[in-house]
């Protein structure tokens, strides 16, 4: 389809080549960023729908839901009632009628909503932005090269991701609805259509993730090759900024982890379409549902670190730059990330403590899992050490960096409860895990993403984002985030199961109605706050204040390139003379020394 488009617009090749099928790593990075932001709204919107159901179970949605009079007596009162009247009168089975009659979310649709919320946020928002956008934009610029090693593969990686997103969204509109077996797709619920009634929805879910897997694979090969082979003269491994280290480690994790998911998905598709029984233990076939869980989590736990490590890298940049100090313990930061990546391969069983896996294995996985506290603690203390005796600038990116550190502390500490096998018996599959994952992936990764966007925006678009709007967005997000997700710890302690559409069905959860309403109201505030970010982002591309070449006075190489960065990035490839965090060096007049500045030359404004 895209090839046709290409030949048709041959006379406009320059535009198409520049903005659509671009080979330039910076454009591809920006494409991934906008792609991620669009999907962020799809994923967030789904969450708001099911939050409504949790606060007001089986009551019609606001605005599009029918009025109570209409539901009870068929009396048309509001505009929404007229819409529903039309839908019910038509002979066709309309999509809205099946998924939310009169605006009341059905249990089937509820299961699709949370399944797709998680799938989209993990595979189509956080990974594309952290790895696709920041990885593409930053790697060549920060290691001092002109582009990625394989620009065509790079373009392929983006357009595969677009194709995957189209397939994923299409799943909502096939008969039977979308995948509804949770983002973890546990078999046999996922492997046999008779248990959910979902036919092609789940097939498309699997196919889309296969495509996304290829996209990630292609991207990771590119990152690894580029970082190993194309560093500027003098850019040794231990002079690389921590965000590049994090992306390098993540690329290796992606390369090794995604094929495991891909093979599991392939087996799942065989089970669904070809009648095999890899994941079902029936009398006719000798498969095992636990095999799916082992394969999924063997991929899934490294995936969790794929989601957080680049966040750690970005936060490290922000904290060092705005404390005007070297990163405390640079090498131990690198080793801690390698340790987290390594431990990520031997902890997957902690998702399966209650699965029926041999209990002895539970004890082993508990030990390896709790060991992750060690490198996590090293990182946290080193961030604190970086701020110690610094000169902290409270810019908006720094606020996001500080939010990352403090939210990561909560997310890390709440992980200890679940790593502990006896405590996990109670809180497994409750809202405690929902709180934990959101403190790590929203409180962690997303705050790093927001901070990173504002921080590198001047280099991406040559303009600043509006600072007043950025600050409003930050504070609203920070407060609403905590109001949304902190109470979920309490729900979890009360035993509130996840993935239930109506907590009011349970006597022991009656006391949590008020808290669920509070969480939903906070979630709507949180969603609203993100509109500010997106408005600010697109407005600032065209109307933002024009930025100078190195507005934050940063040492790393991306700020050596002119703004806006031309094709090929650097006029002359810079030579690197020192590490990335030489801030406030004693005896120097300036409090920063760019990596590319020759020894013993007077400090200049960085050009």
């Amino acid at each position: 389809m895209h090839d046709n488009e290409h030949t048709e617009h041959h006379h406009e090749e320059s535009f198409i080549r520049k903005y659509v099928f671009s080979l330039d790593h910076k454009t591809i990075g920006k494409q991934f960023l906008i792609y991620g932001l669009i999907m962020f709204f799809v994923g967030g919107g789904l969450a708001l729908l099911f939050r409504w159901q949790l606060a007001y179970p089986d009551r019609p949605l606001p605005i599009i839901g029918a009025s109570q009079q209409y539901i009870d007596e068929g009396e048309v009162v509001t505009g929404a009632d007229r819409m529903w009247e039309r839908i019910y009168e038509s002979d066709k089975e309309e999509w809205l009628e099946v998924s939310m009659p009169s605006g009341v979310i059905t249990p089937e649709f509820y299961n699709m909503l949370f399944t797709m919320h998680a799938t989209i946020m993990v595979f189509f928002v956080v990974v594309p932005i952290l790895v696709g956008a920041f990885g593409n934009f930053l790697i060549p610029l920060m290691i001092g090269t002109r582009d990625m090693a394989f620009p065509i593969l790079n373009m392929l990686s983006f357009w595969l991701a677009v194709l995957a997103a189209i397939v994923m969204v299409m799943g909502f509109f096939v008969p039977g609805g979308h995948a509804s077996a949770g983002w973890t797709g546990y078999a046999p619920l996922s492997s046999d259509p008779q248990w959910t009634g979902v036919e092609w929805g789940l097939n498309l879910w699997a196919i889309s993730l296969l495509l996304q897997g290829f996209s990630s694979l292609v991207g990771s090969i590119n990152y690894i090759t580029t970082i190993i082979n194309m560093r500027a003269p003098g850019m040794t491994f231990f002079r690389m900024p921590l965000v590049i280290w994090s992306l390098f480690i993540v690329a290796i994790l992606l390369l090794l982890a995604f094929p495991v998911l891909s093979s599991a998905l392939a087996l799942l598709i065989f089970d669904r379409l070809a009648g095999t029984t890899f994941f079902s233990a029936t009398a006719e076939g000798g498969g095992d549902p636990l095999l799916w869980q082992h394969l999924f989590w063997f991929f899934g736990h490294p995936e969790v670190y794929i989601l957080i490590l680049p966040g750690m890298g970005i936060a490290s940049e922000l904290v060092a730059v705005f404390s005007r100090k070297p990163i405390f313990g640079y090498r131990s930061m690198v080793y801690a990330m390698i340790a987290i990546a390594f431990l990520g391969w031997i902890v997957w069983g902690h998702h399966m403590f209650q699965s029926g896996m041999r209990p002895g294995l539970g004890s082993i996985f508990m030990t390896t899992t709790m060991l992750i506290a060690v490198p996590s603690a090293i990182k946290t203390f080193n961030w604190l050490g970086t701020m110690f005796r610094g000169s902290i600038r409270f810019t908006t990116p720094m606020l996001h960096g500080i939010a990352f550190v403090s939210m990561f502390v909560i997310g890390g500490l709440s992980g200890i409860y679940m790593a502990n096998t006896p405590v996990d018996i109670f809180i497994h599959d409750t809202y405690y895990i929902v709180a934990h994952i959101h403190y790590v992936v929203f409180g962690g990764s997303l705050f790093a993403i927001f901070g990173g966007i504002i921080f590198w925006f001047p280099k991406m678009y040559g303009r600043y984002m509006n600072d007043v709007l950025s600050k409003i967005h930050f504070w609203l997000t920070f407060i609403a985030f905590n109001c949304t997700f902190f109470p979920m710890h309490i729900l979890g302690v009360g035993g509130h199961m996840r993935r239930i559409s109506n907590p009011q069905q349970y006597e022991f959860l009656q006391g949590f109605e008020g808290m669920n309403i509070f969480i939903t109201m906070s979630a709507f505030t949180l969603g609203f706050a993100q509109l500010i970010l997106v408005f600010n982002f697109f407005w600032s591309i065209y109307k933002g204040k024009v930025a100078e070449q190195n507005p934050w006075q940063v040492n790393t190489l991306e700020w050596e390139a002119p703004t806006p960065v031309p094709h090929g990035n650097f006029g002359q490839i810079p030579t690197v003379y020192r590490g990335p965090y030489e801030y406030s060096v004693p005896g120097e007049e300036s409090d920063w020394i760019p990596q590319a500045q020759p020894e013993h030359a007077p400090a200049t404004s960085g050009d």
Partner: protein, 221 residues
């Protein structure tokens, strides 16, 4: 926060709750120390005109201290956790000679409870199958053969601090001893389809005399 925990009515529940409390205090202290330090640093080392940051590259001694300290805490916590976990979940360590044996089978979207009857054997004529109602005596050791006929379900009794997934074509042994008579909910804790929400059984814990009367009524002799 821990006052939100449901009442504990099982013999091993206290062990779970003790660990819960220990981790709660441990993480609370760490949280207060780290966030407190962060806030102090943010105030004390905020940018002030004419004051420069101090160039510090790190401290190997500190790195060793916090690596070692965290490692020790982790292993101590693990040491206290192994016995509790094995006590609840390891079939080799279950209390022997159960007073009651029941087969519990998940099925979209009910719990089927099968009693073996007086002959203590499943699959015989005197078996009794009840939908969603499990009856056991108080202060008695109960063994459950947990299974499923379709997808994965999870047997969860919040007040017993007990949760175990039920897998098709597999029998997983679970035990508990309830310490207080009453009627407790048994929700399903693993997504099992559109009826997952509301899949709910009941655990009826009877005083011994009441339980004997119930048995007498079901299997008159």
């Amino acid at each position: 926060m821990l006052q939100w925990l449901p009442e504990d009515v099982s013999t091993f529940g206290q062990g779970v709750d003790n660990l819960f409390h220990a981790i709660y205090w441990l993480t609370l202290i760490v949280f207060v120390l780290v966030i407190g330090t962060l806030i102090v640093f943010l105030i004390k080392y905020r940018h002030q005109e004419g004051k420069r940051a101090t160039y510090i590259e790190g401290s190997t001694r500190l790195e060793i201290v916090w690596t070692a300290a965290t490692t020790v805490i982790v292993f101590v916590l693990a040491m206290f956790s192994y016995p509790q976990w094995n006590n609840i979940k390891s079939p080799t360590q279950f209390p022997e000679n159960p007073d009651v044996v029941v087969q519990v089978s998940g099925k979209q979207f009910n719990w089927d409870m099968t009693y073996p009857g007086p002959d203590n054997e499943f699959g015989t004529d005197d078996d009794l199958v009840l939908e969603n109602e499990l009856h056991v005596p108080v202060n008695a050791i109960v063994h459950i053969r947990l299974t499923s006929v379709d997808v994965i379900h999870s047997f969860f009794v919040p007040q017993l601090r007990l949760k175990q997934d039920a897998l098709p074509n597999r029998f997983i042994n679970v035990w508990f001893e309830a310490t207080k008579a009453g009627r407790y909910e048994i929700p399903c804790a693993e997504l099992c389809g559109f009826g997952h929400s509301g899949m709910l059984g009941y655990l009826n814990v009877h005083a011994q005399a009441d339980y004997d009367a119930w048995v007498q009524e079901r299997w008159p002799q």
